[in-house]
Symmetry: C2
Subunit: 91 residues, 2 copies
């Protein structure tokens, strides 16, 4: 089973579009490595949590901001395919 | 557990954007009723299959075309919350 990323977002905060954007970024870069990305509406206001399988890899509440795409891709790459080059965004 | 929709799409056909668009349509309409929508890259070329939990509810190969959004929402509504009105798109 390939790893699955879940993005739990607050629909009331209007974060669906942001979550869908990040899902597409991840699926474009890790098309062969990921089993999927799940967009999950949260029942808790202000939530923006990303999980790799069951492990939390990003929590907006802890970091105080949304993830930056380059850093997010590096984080996911390091966890699921550490030998993969991310091209320009790795430099 | 709320129902989860999975969209298995062919990345080589370039159908990620279409799948992500449909995911956002479904999550906008069924924000409270769905547990999530998973975007799942397929390893089989030409695949565009939608599942509600484990049940196939749409298969492009069988129908010969992509789902129309209004019909898709009615299909999902009938399965997960038959009493819900879809407003304008129901008429």
């Amino acid at each position: 089973m390939k790893p699955v990323i879940t993005i739990e977002y607050c629909p009331k905060c209007g974060w669906l579009l942001r979550a869908a954007y990040m899902a597409q970024e991840l699926l474009t870069t890790f098309s062969a490595e990921l089993g999927g990305v799940t967009l999950q509406p949260s029942e808790t206001s202000g939530t923006y949590i990303m999980r790799l399988d069951d492990e939390v890899i990003y929590d907006r509440r802890e970091s105080g901001h949304f993830p930056e795409i380059k850093a997010l891709k590096q984080l996911v790459r390091d966890l699921i395919c550490p030998d993969k080059s991310l091209g320009h965004s790795d430099r």
